[in-house]
């Protein structure tokens, strides 16, 4: 208990300097972007005086480190500035789009995890069998193709050629209104509100991007599950169990339980990285989530929006990594921090 407490304590102590370091890095990185946001906002028509006024108003004429201090002060109050492409506070933009990305991520990773673990376990049970060989092949293939390529092919086949999927432009059909917002995730909200038409519509639009995401990520999980299971099935304590005469089903259960930590570790890592990595899939499907938002922000030199997005994504990643480290340290006493 004492050990766990000290682990948690040291890890959490480090959060503050890490977040500070992150925020400084992000802030200065974004300010280096080309394109003058003031001119981008006012257009070339504006006379120099108006440009200077707006620059002063936005605080862009102050030295960088002072701008950083102001930004951090606002951040602590929960104010991430205003996005100029949407004319909304960045925090509102992020709140609005985060559920879209999360819905896609949860479903995609959920399916990847389910399929990956199940098939990984089966193929570890029969190494060298047909299923095993096919999964190896699939793993390598799925990891080798770029995710936007997979997405484009999906749209082409399922929408253009076969006409099976709905149009790849957002989370709902054009005529539909989103359900009353509780979590922001359309599937959940429409069920709560009892709007079954909207539910089916949202589900239909989710199919292709979720499938693309799952197709892309299942490979890694499958591979990890398989190799971990193989290692464990070969280990001493499992062999002891077999010698003693435990039923194969029970052996498998023990094996799986021991295999879970690295699998969970991998999944959490993928999750942490996916928030930023899902960008291209969102772009192909016009998903309207954080990924698409961040791409548009970069191309529009929308300082506040990019900074806000990077802060959010990095902080979520950091927290996920910390939780993972703590969990690992708790589970495995041999791990040194």
């Amino acid at each position: 208990m004492k050990r766990v407490a000290s682990v948690v304590f040291t890890r959490c102590l480090l959060i503050v300097p890490q977040v500070l370091g992150l925020s400084a890095l992000i802030f200065f990185l974004v300010r280096l972007l080309p394109g003058d946001p003031v001119i981008a906002r006012l257009g070339g028509h504006a006379p120099a005086l108006t440009i200077d006024n707006l620059r002063h108003q936005l605080g862009l004429d102050l030295p960088l480190h002072i701008q950083y201090i102001h930004y951090m002060k606002d951040l602590l109050r929960g104010d991430l500035g205003d996005s100029w492409t949407t004319a909304q506070p960045v925090i509102e933009d992020l709140k609005m789009r985060l559920p879209a990305t999360l819905e896609l991520m949860f479903l995609g990773m959920g399916i990847a995890l389910m399929v990956g673990v199940i098939i990984g376990v089966i193929s570890a049970g029969r190494p060298g069998g047909l299923l095993d060989r096919s999964t190896i092949f699939y793993t390598l293939l799925a990891g080798a193709l770029p995710e936007f390529y997979i997405g484009i092919i999906m749209v082409f086949l399922f929408y253009v050629v076969w006409g099976l999927a709905p149009h790849p432009a957002g989370r709902l059909g054009l005529a539909s209104l989103p359900p009353p917002r509780i979590t922001g995730m359309y599937l959940i909200d429409s069920v709560i509100a009892g709007q079954w038409d909207t539910f089916r519509d949202a589900l239909g639009h989710l199919i292709l991007p979720v499938f693309t995401l799952a197709f892309w990520q299942t490979g890694a999980i499958m591979k990890m599950t398989r190799s971990t299971m193989l290692q464990i099935l070969d280990s001493d304590f499992i062999n002891y169990g077999r010698l003693v005469g435990l039923k194969p089903a029970i052996i498998r259960r023990y094996a799986l339980r021991n295999a879970l930590p690295p699998i969970i570790g991998l999944t959490v890592t993928i999750f942490a990285v996916l928030l930023g990595g899902i960008v291209l899939i969102e772009q192909v499907f016009s998903w309207g989530g954080l990924g698409q938002y961040s791409v548009e922000a970069v191309t529009s030199s929308d300082y506040e929006a990019i900074t806000g997005f990077l802060m959010l994504a990095s902080t979520i990643s950091l927290l996920l990594f910390i939780m993972l480290d703590i969990a690992n340290a708790i589970i495995d006493p041999r791990l040194e921090l």
Binding site: L14, Q18, G21, L22, L25, I26, L29, V30, L32, L33, P34, I136, L140, L141, G143, A144, L145, P146, E147, F148, Y149, I152, I153, F156, V160, A272, V273, L275, G276, G277, V279, L280, Q283, S294, V295, V298, T299, I306, F309, L310, A313, S314, T315, S317, L318, F321, E336, L337
Partner: protein, 289 residues
């Protein structure tokens, strides 16, 4: 003379072992073969290409034919020539970026792993912070800032991949440090630096070697992604990602060949690298069959 003979005999033994090794594992052999083809194309691709990959011509949007094996794109550029010229860009970027990442990350990882207590931890934590940044968006920002060029893409990718190697090496160094032979090296009176450089480092490189081709593959995919979104290399440099990006809106108007072929090429290249990496893994540690 005997020395030379002994070295050669050693070579032959190694070669025979390797040939046997790959004969047994057709998939790994395939990976090695693919990787070598792409290295070859990286050197000689543009030379053996039937058409200049950057020269526009009047045959625009032609489907695959005798004249243009993979067809042509909107500017009359030959897709086949561009597909086999792209490894020079993609592969080079992947290779150089990963090498730089290794050169930067490994020393840091060794130091971080070797130093006891909080000093090692701090370096590791600092690199962990870099890990939290969403790599793709950061890459976009950096390339947007520095300008689209091959060199900038390389630098950006190296920066983003270095923390991975730091982490890898650090954990390996940790376990190597515990081994008895390190203890004896210290007991024998070697300085800590010598132990670190001469004993620990060479034994910690194995995960790096295995990870290397995988990382080259990731770098190629990331470059393709950046070019797809317009933040990678400049037009009309032949690069798989930008070719897919040009070809994507052409799928719906029926000119499928512009996007499909480069995508397949990326897939095969990264696949080959991954297979090669897994064969490396087994080679270096035969217990993992």
């Amino acid at each position: 003379m005997n020395q030379v003979k002994r070295v050669f005999r050693g070579f032959r033994k190694e070669a025979t072992y390797l040939i046997g090794f790959y004969k047994e594992r057709p998939l790994s052999a395939f990976g090695l073969f693919i990787s070598m083809i792409f290295v070859f194309l990286a050197f000689l691709g543009p030379t053996i290409a039937p058409y200049n990959p950057e020269e526009a011509s009047a045959d625009f949007l032609e489907p695959p034919s005798q004249k243009h094996w993979f067809g042509t794109d909107r500017s009359g550029l030959d897709v086949f020539s561009r597909t086999i010229s792209a490894p020079r860009i993609d592969f080079t970027i992947g290779l150089v970026a990963t090498t730089l990442a290794v050169l930067a990350g490994v020393p840091m990882g060794v130091i971080a792993g070797f130093l006891p207590g909080w000093r090692g931890s701090t370096i590791s934590r600092a690199f962990d912070v870099l890990n939290c940044l969403p790599p793709f968006i950061v890459a976009m920002c950096l390339v947007a800032f520095a300008g689209q060029s091959i060199l900038n893409v390389i630098i950006v990718l190296a920066l983003l991949n270095a923390p991975l190697f730091v982490r890898l090496v650090r954990s390996k160094v940790h376990s190597v440090k515990q081994r008895k032979f390190i203890e004896s090296a210290t007991c024998l009176g070697n300085s800590q630096t010598r132990v670190m450089l001469h004993h620990v480092l060479p034994n910690s490189l194995e995960p790096v070697l295995v990870q290397f081709p995988v990382n080259v593959g990731w770098a190629i995919l990331t470059t393709a992604g950046l070019s797809f979104i317009g933040a990678g290399v400049r037009a009309p440099t032949p690069e798989w990602g930008s070719m897919i990006s040009i070809g994507a809106p052409l799928l719906i108007t029926g000119q499928w060949w512009v996007a499909i072929f480069p995508g397949i090429a990326v897939g095969i290249c990264v696949l080959g690298l991954a297979l090669f990496a897994s064969s490396l893994e087994i080679l270096l540690d035969p217990t993992r069959g």
